[in-house]
Symmetry: C2
Subunit: 310 residues, 2 copies
DNA sequence: TATGATGATAGGGATATCCTATCAATAAAA
DNA sequence: TTTTATTGATAGGATATCCCTATCATCATA
């Protein structure tokens, strides 16, 4: 039967034959028998419908067509070698570009503290980081557009594995001139009737806040939902209400809290739990687990100020 | 057994699978069965020692390594397609770049008249033309560095086929003020005692001239052998002797023979025979024969002034 | 003339490739 | 919840491909 595409082997044989200029010599270098080489070259010529080699008693010479196609054959083999090199690289350390999704409330404040450490441990690791809302991240992860997601619980677990990284406290921030800022200790009952600003509903903290407010008798400012922690901060400064933000945000962005007061609330153990998530059966789940462990230890050393718990 | 290099088929399967995102769909498009596809992808992964595809009940997704290698795989297939395209081109008309050797006493004066015609008939024909001395040309042809040689007889025929193209007369050229230039008719006996300039010994005309001179009683100017027809012409103008040059040279270069007289010698049927030569068993010998025929007819129409005989 | 090199050919065995039939697990529909 | 359809994995067997050894015919050379 007529073949359709030359074989990589046939191209290798052809190139070697062109360099050796005798079938026997080339066959020896290729560690195959001369009849095998003859047959494969013949097959190659048949699939291309061209005579590539001129046979004579004194050896083999390329025809004009053969000379021209030799260039192409070398290019094909070149690309194949590139592929093999790439694959070989990937056999040492994690291979490929991992796509990590991250919530906007986490990425800018956490990643700067851990990416250098990741690169140091996995020099060949390539991370493509993409921010999105939690719901979009979950869908992207489930459908394979992302490999990893760095997010705070609760996070859906239909076919996902989530590994807890750490818990971080949420801090109350108020305007500098707010009555609460002047108290020595802020108690839970002080929050009654206060206006609490939240992120949009797509963020998990929204529901957390909703629950909290109903318990404490505070109200949620539904008309002014923030789309970022920075936006929330600006709204607090403008006196539109109070809010809770994670401590990593505070320690990354608000070194001198101009116009703001950062407080803890007594007897209110408010925190968010950060997790790393991936598809349950992902072939790289072993590596992802290592990654989670590494992130945990990096955070422990680089963010000791933030009083995180593990 | 462990394989060494991925198969072209495996790469095709892999790329198609990446695009289809389900084994069954990809197999259907590839017109193979799903188990075959599964097996080949598995083989590919085994040769690369990498997991390329993440299998789930809802289809197949690429792993990070798979995504990165997909690019390489596409490049390999791209190059292979280039090779196939090239081969397909060569199936229409003569394929490849033909290397033609030509004597310096022929090329510059004959090729301008025939190359345009060749290109017109064989649009895809690519000719690489190289000038060299007849002896070097013969060796290059025998050892496969050239495919064709355009040269004048005699030309060695151990394992070569030579096809006569035409015969062209040799013309006597003298200085304008030479006594022979004033005669109405130049007879053979007028040449007795004259000094005849020739090309170097490597050229076949040298021996032809040697024989002629001994017959006519002329002498060969051994101290001043020319390395080109143009050199001979300059030497004639300088009054160093007479010489014979082919009529194609005259009709190409000397439109107004300044300082020169071009003459025929009565009863002296002096000419050179031009041939096209190739290796006896060359796979393209059929085409070469066509080529010789075409050159003959092109010369016949384009060089009718030169009084060639066929 | 004899020798050593070349590529071509014949016959047979090992392996790779591909198929059909079937399974187990899941997602979607009833 | 149950049923149905769809997913990829697996088993067994037919066929094609690849490769080998042994041998031949031809030619260059000693």
């Amino acid at each position: 039967m007529a073949l359709e595409t030359p074989t990589i082997k046939q191209l290798e044989y052809f190139v070697r034959l062109a360099e050796s200029s005798t079938f026997r010599g080339a066959a020896e270098q290729l560690k195959i028998s001369q009849p095998t080489l003859t047959a494969q070259i013949y097959n190659l010529e048949k699939t291309l419908n061209l005579t590539l080699v001129e046979r004579s008693r004194s050896g083999a010479t390329l025809t004009p067509a053969g000379r021209d196609l030799l260039t192409n054959a070398r290019q094909v083999l070149e690309e194949m070698n590139g592929l093999l090199d790439q694959a070989a690289m990937m056999n040492h350390g994690p291979g490929g570009t991992f796509r990590m999704g991250v919530s906007p409330t986490i990425g800018p404040y956490l990643l700067p503290h851990i990416l250098p450490g990741l690169h140091q441990t996995y020099a060949s690791l390539k991370l493509f980081v993409r921010e999105n809302t939690p719901k979009a991240l979950e869908l992207d992860l489930l459908e394979g557009r992302l490999d990893l997601v760095l997010i705070s619980q609760p996070f859906g677990t239909p076919r996902l594995t989530t590994e807890v990284l750490f818990e971080e406290p949420l801090k109350l921030i108020t305007p500098e001139d707010h009555p609460l800022a002047k108290l020595e200790r802020v108690e839970t009952h002080h929050l009654r009737g206060q206006n609490i600003l939240t992120l949009e509903e797509q963020y998990s903290s929204y529901h957390q806040m909703e629950l909290l407010c109903s318990e404490l008798g505070a109200t949620i400012a539904r008309d002014y939902e923030g789309s970022s922690l920075d936006a929330l901060r600006q709204m607090v400064i403008m006196g539109m209400g109070l809010t809770f933000v994670p401590s990593t945000y505070i320690y990354s962005e608000i070194h001198q809290p101009q116009g703001l007061s950062v407080r803890d609330v007594e007897n209110l153990n408010l925190h968010r739990t950060l997790v790393l998530a991936w598809r349950q059966n992902s072939p790289n789940r072993g590596f992802y687990r290592q990654l989670a462990e590494l992130i945990r230890s990096l955070v422990k050393t680089n963010l000791s100020d933030a009083k995180l718990s593990f």
